[in-house]
Structures are given as C-alpha cells and as structure tokens.
C-alpha cells in the first residue's frame, strides 16, 4: 500500500533507532507524551518501545475519542437506545464502552435495544431515510476528524427536511485537552508530572492544521512535533523532540508534512463552524471538566439536536474508585500500577476508560506489551526498568 508500507520499513527503523540512541543524552530522561491513541497503538503493535533507549519513555496520553467520553454521556446514549422509538447509530468502537453499572450499548443491544453499528455518518442518514417510522439518532463522538463528517450529515438532513433524524453530539477538541493536562489542578494532587515533549496529533491536525499548537508550545515551553501514525513517523518525530530538547528549543514542528499543513482543511473547518458552537465546559473521562473543549449543535440546527428532542440530561456519574486512569493519562502511573489491571479489568470486561478501546493505554499494554519483564528479563524497555 503506497504511502503506508514505506513508513513501516524495518530497515529504516534501525537507522532511526541508531540515531535516537546516539543523540539521546544518557544523562537525561526523555518523557515523551504521545497524546493520540493512534501513536500508542503504533508503539505497541510494532514494538517501537523495543527500539528505544532505556532513558526514553513514552507516556500514553488521553487521545482516544472513545476513552475520553464521560460515563454520564454514555449513560445518556444508553437511555436513548432503550427508548423503544429510537434506533441509535454509532461507530463500532463505542459499542463496548462501559457506562454506569458496567452496562454498555452492546449489552443494551443484546437486551433488545435497536443499536446499529455504522462505518460512516452517511449510513445513519440512510437508515433514517429507509425507516421513516423510527427515530434515528446518531450518537456522534470523536475529535476534529469525525466532527466534519457529522457536520456534513447534519446539513444533508436539514436540506432533505428529514423529520426522524437527530444527532447526540459529543465532539471534543484536542488542543484544549492537551493544555489541560499540564494546567489542571488535579496534576498537583497526583504529583510531579515530568512530560518533556509531545507527539502532536496527526489526523486531527490534517483538519485543524498545526497552528493551534503554537500557543501551547510557547506558553508551556514544551516541544510539540506533529507526527504520523506509522511507526517510522513516531520514531522520526521522537528524534525531532530529542533534538529540540537537546537544543533547548520548544517549537511546533511537523513531521507529518505529507498530510498536515499549518492551516489545515479550511472547507472542513468552515462546515464545522457553521453547524457547531463551543461548549463552555465539557467533562473528559479521566480528566474531569475541561473548559472550551467540546462542541454543541448551533440553534439553527436545533431541530436535529437529540439533546433537545429527547430532553437529554447528563447526570454526574463516577468512574470506578480504584481505576488509575486519571494518573495514567497524565503520565504519573503505568497500567500495571493499577490493582484492577488484568484481574477485574480486561478488554473483555473493561472498568476504566484506558481499557476500553485498543488505543487506550491499559488496553494496548494488555494486548501487546504486558509482561515483557517476565518473558524477557533483560531490561531494555522502560517498563522493565521502572
């Protein structure tokens, strides 16, 4: 596959690994947070960590759109799904996300709720057109990548005058969350979090561009390198962060220049601005309330807003007490530090947000990376060393 396979080539990996090993200062520890689950996934699936020196540690951030949705909103989606009039459409990833009482959309479906897995927002629209007697609700989630497709379908529904289609909007914004990680009061409670640099979102940035990170890099004096999701992208961007840190710089750099520009996709941005407006605050699972970090449907499209149509009220709902996700998402703890990891909390039956999607830190750790320390006593990886 062109523009895919080239960026997974093992031979180039060895060159990059050698460069990183050479350039990483043995006197320092490099804590690099990959914000995106896409990076987390690549690191574990391809074994990138094995190619890193012991003093380079990846901190797995909150960047999985499924994991960050707070329990209260998943509860809302469940309520909608259990309304006998409603056909709830959502992406496959959302099906297993645990809500209050370990319920999930998959379980609701098993109990008879009409929940449909869609591949694209267009599928939801088609289902609404084909089932005029059903209230079709798109349970819309995700970052800046999935938001424009939701905007498109909302405009199409409005143009067609569809009466039985609405959107339960849960789109969130990544720059606000990245900022929040270094700024929130919770960080102080958890303890000192040493994050030296950030791998910036790749596909999100294809829409919003690299510009939105510039304020952050300056304000918090941390390098941000927009990085592709292929393993060589991650390695090259890591090298770029090391070089910035070694050189005392804190800039926004763009490793993923083949897709990301400074300004992003203007047409998509305009569509989003037309249909959505900022929420003053929104809860992120594991992070708590984050100001100006989410979108809601504008009044012009109120007829298609499921929150209004069905009087959705989000009640506060707590995550499991022993779940260490908040600390893990900020880099203060590792998945194996959690008492529930692998016993009560597994991908088949997740407790916390980090175990939900294959991009969550706990899930990736479980699926691809656990127990290197036991099967490979030679401590090359930071997990083994920790």
């Amino acid at each position: 596959m062109k523009y895919v396979d080239e960026f997974r080539a093992g031979d180039l990996a060895h060159g990059l690994a050698a460069a990183i090993a050479r350039e990483a200062d043995p006197a320092h520890t490099y804590n690099v947070m990959e914000f995106c689950g896409g990076h987390t996934h690549a690191i574990f699936r391809y074994g990138v960590q094995d190619l890193m020196p012991a003093n380079l540690r990846f901190v797995h951030g909150p960047g999985c759109p499924v994991c960050v949705l707070p329990i209260g909103r998943v509860d809302n989606a469940l309520e909608l799904a259990c309304d006998p009039r409603v056909t709830l459409c959502t992406y496959g990833d959302m099906m297993r996300v645990p809500a209050t009482g370990r319920r999930s959309l998959l379980k609701a479906k098993a109990e008879g709720a009409d929940v449909r897995m869609i591949y694209s927002t267009q599928d939801a629209l088609r289902i609404a057109v084909e089932n005029p007697d059903r209230e079709v609700v798109l349970f819309a989630i995700g970052f800046e990548t999935t938001t424009p497709p939701t905007a498109v379908v909302l405009k199409q529904a409005a143009a067609a005058g569809l009466k039985n289609f609405s959107v339960f909007c849960n789109h969130v914004l990544t720059p606000a969350a990245i900022t929040h990680i270094l700024e929130s009061p919770e960080v102080r409670e958890i303890g000192t979090v040493a994050i030296d640099g950030f791998l910036g979102p790749s596909h999100v940035s294809s829409v919003i561009g690299s510009q939105p990170y510039e304020f952050f890099a300056q304000e918090y004096q941390r390098p941000v390198v927009i990085a592709g999701f292929e393993p060589l992208d991650v390695m090259q961007a890591t090298l770029m962060i090391i070089r910035q840190l070694n050189g005392g710089r804190h800039e926004v750099e763009n490793q993923y220049a083949r897709v990301v520009t400074r300004e992003g996709n203007r047409k998509a941005q305009a569509l989003v601005a037309e249909v959505f407006e900022l929420r003053s605050s929104f809860e992120w699972r594991g992070l708590g309330l984050v100001p100006y970090s989410a979108l809601r449907i504008r009044p012009q499209f109120a007829a298609f807003d499921a929150e209004l149509r069905f009087g959705v009220e989000t009640k506060p709902a707590r995550d499991a007490k022993s779940c260490e996700c908040p600390s893990i998402l900020r880099g203060a703890k590792k998945p194996t530090d959690c008492k529930l990891f692998g016993t009560v909390c597994t991908p088949e039956s997740p407790i916390g947000s980090c175990m939900v999607s294959s991009e969550g830190a706990c899930a990736a750790y479980w699926t691809y990376g656990r127990f290197r320390q036991q099967t490979r006593p030679a401590a090359r990886s930071t997990e083994a060393a920790a």
Binding site: E111, G112, F341, G342, T343, V344, T346, E348
Partner: protein, 349 residues
C-alpha cells in the same frame, strides 16, 4: 504460576449477565465459557483434552450415528428442559437401531442476551442426564448469534453407538402379521409443552416423558435379538412415525385405538384444544415391531422395565400396497390415521 502471574494472564471473564457476541468470537471469552460451563459440568477426559474433536477406541461391532437439533420452546418445561431433552433425544435415536450409545457431541447456538444463569442451568441438566445415562458428552461447539436471530438456545447433539452382534433393526423390516408394541402413554411431552405456552395456558399435572430409552432397548434386544423395527414417536407423534414405518416397509399398519395407553390429562387437553393425541410429540416412548411369536416375550420384558410398565400391544402389520395406517376406533368404526398434515394448530372448529 505465582499469584502475580495469574493477574497478567487475565482474570476470569465474569460469568454473570448474559450471552454476549464475544462468547462466540473464538477468543478468550469463548475459551473461558467453554471451560467454566461445558468442561466443568460435562467433565470427562476427552473434553478436558481441549481439542476440536474427541478420539476413542470403538468396541467391536457395527456403529451407528444419529443427530438431532433441539429448538423447544419454552426452554424449561415440566419434566425437563432443552438440555435433558437434547441428551435423551439423541440417545434414543441411537438406541432405535438396537444400539448401545457410547458418546455424545453437543453444538450450542446461543442468542445474544440469553441469561448465562439459564445456560448454566441447562448445562447442569445435560450433565446430569448424560451421567445418569452413562453416555458422556465428549466434544462440542458454541456459536453466538445476534439478538433476534436465534431463540435463546438451540442444541444439536450427535451420538455414536454400537450395535450388539446379531441385532439388525430397521424401519423397512416390518412384515404382515407382525405385532406393534408401545412402551407407554402417548402425548405427555407435547401436552406438557403446550400447557406452558402463553395464550394456551391450562393447568395439568402432566410432565414430559423425556427419558433415555437405551436401557429399555438393551433389555429388549437381549430378550428378542430378532426385533424388526424400533422407533421413537417424537414430533409428528405416533401417527407420523407409524406412517414412516409403513412406507419404509411397504406394509399397512392397523391400530386398535382402545389399546393405546393415554393419560386422562392428555385426552382432556387435546379435546380442549382440538388436537389429536396421535399427532402429539413424545420423548420417552418407542414403538417396537416384532414377529408374532416374539410379541409376548417382548411385552413381558418391556413391562419389567421402569420405562415400559404400561407397555401394550397396539396393533399389527397387514399386507397393503398403499401402506396405509388405519385404526379401529374405540367407538367401533374404522379410520385412516394419516401423516400429520401441515402442523397441528389449536383450533376452534
């Protein structure tokens, strides 16, 4: 493994709640379900081996194989459940060759959302039925279908058995003059099921006759190795089973209505719903056809067995090119006893 290791190998997936698609995915959830339910309750070395098949050294003799899917509704009914039924049904089909059943396989098709507690109850019941019968369930399979694409649980069992030397039972062996024997009252299973159907609900003390008949059959073939036909009149009832045999053997069969054992509850329920008990399902009954000279001995052996105490001669085979089943009514007239046409629906007229 240390306690610490176990934690990394993966905690048990909770076996509470209900059947999920992941239980049929072939992944860890499937493996755990199989271990926690099937291997645990059916418990035998072949199943514990964990292979996709069971291996065994067969005894000498001809083997038989038989299979039946079980789709009963309601799943739990007076006198049994789909699990015990699935064990008995296939044991009986194997036994109807005059054979001694050796092993069973069980393939489950589960509907997403089916309560795991109900599944465990069924598995426990199967395990008990299999143990009581002395026929272990040695291999199996589990699939899960989406809600609305199944009906709780379907169980297909397959059995293998061995035919004793000198026994050759088959539906095409009835000859004019042969005697038809039945081991007890008809219609108990079907009426027990119907009594629990929504809308039809009526009160009765009838329980299903579901039972494994291989012990009875073993006594019968030991006493009369030359027994010609054995068959269990399950769905379609006595009437359909006899029509099958009549066609296979190209003989007519004549029944004596007054001789057919039937419980008062079954008669009454059939009158109430407009059903004919000759077409009602049985799950612990068999008909045997033997030479006239063997009939009394066979009847005595049947009556000596707990599952044949009410055994009776109910008719005889006659020459008839058209292979009709006919019956002298208790009233004194004659009628044809046809195949079940369509399905029996409760009727108002």
């Amino acid at each position: 493994m240390t306690a610490h290791d176990a934690r990394f190998v993966g905690g048990a997936i909770p076996l509470s709640g209900s059947v999920d698609m992941m239980h049929g995915s072939g992944g860890r959830a499937t493996a755990e379900l199989v271990q926690a339910l099937f291997v645990r309750h059916f418990d035998n070395p072949m199943l514990r081996a964990g292979n996709d098949q069971a291996a065994f050294q067969p005894p000498a003799g001809r083997l038989v194989i038989s299979t039946d899917g079980h789709v009963v509704s309601p799943i739990f009914f007076p006198g049994g459940d789909i699990g015990s039924l699935a064990v008995h049904g296939t044991i009986n089909d194997v036994a109807m060759a005059g054979a001694r059943p050796l092993y069973l396989s069980a393939a489950f098709i589960l509907e997403q959302g089916f309560p795991l507690a109900d599944l465990e109850r069924i598995v426990v019941s199967m395990a008990a039925a299999s143990r009581l019968a002395g026929v272990p369930i040695v291999t199996g399979d589990t699939k899960v279908v989406e809600r609305g694409k199944g009906d709780g649980v379907f169980i297909t069992t397959t059995g293998v058995g061995v035919v004793p030397e000198g026994v050759d039972v088959s539906g095409d062996k009835a000859r004019p003059g042969d005697v038809i024997l039945l081991n007890g009252s008809i219609g108990d299973h079907g009426i027990a099921i119907l009594s629990k159907r929504e809308n039809l609900a009526f009160e009765t003390e009838i329980v299903s006759d579901s039972a494994a008949l291989h012990g009875l059959v073993a006594d019968m073939v030991a006493a009369v190795p030359g027994i010609r036909v054995l068959r269990d009149p399950t769905r379609g009832g006595l009437a359909s089973t006899l029509n099958e045999v009549a066609q296979q053997s190209r003989v007519g069969l004549r029944l004596d209505e007054a001789a057919i054992p039937m419980k008062a509850d079954v008669r009454a329920a059939c009158e109430l719903l407009g059903l004919d008990p000759l077409y009602i399902a049985n799950e612990g009954k068999l008909i045997a056809i033997c030479a006239p000279a063997d009939a009394d001995r066979l009847l005595a052996v049947m009556r000596a067995h707990p599952l044949g105490q009410e055994a009776a001669k109910i008719g005889e085979a006659v020459a008839d090119d058209l292979a009709f089943v006919q019956m002298r009514t208790a009233f004194g007239g004659e009628r044809i006893v046809d195949w079940l046409a369509g399905e029996q629906l409760p009727r108002i007229c």
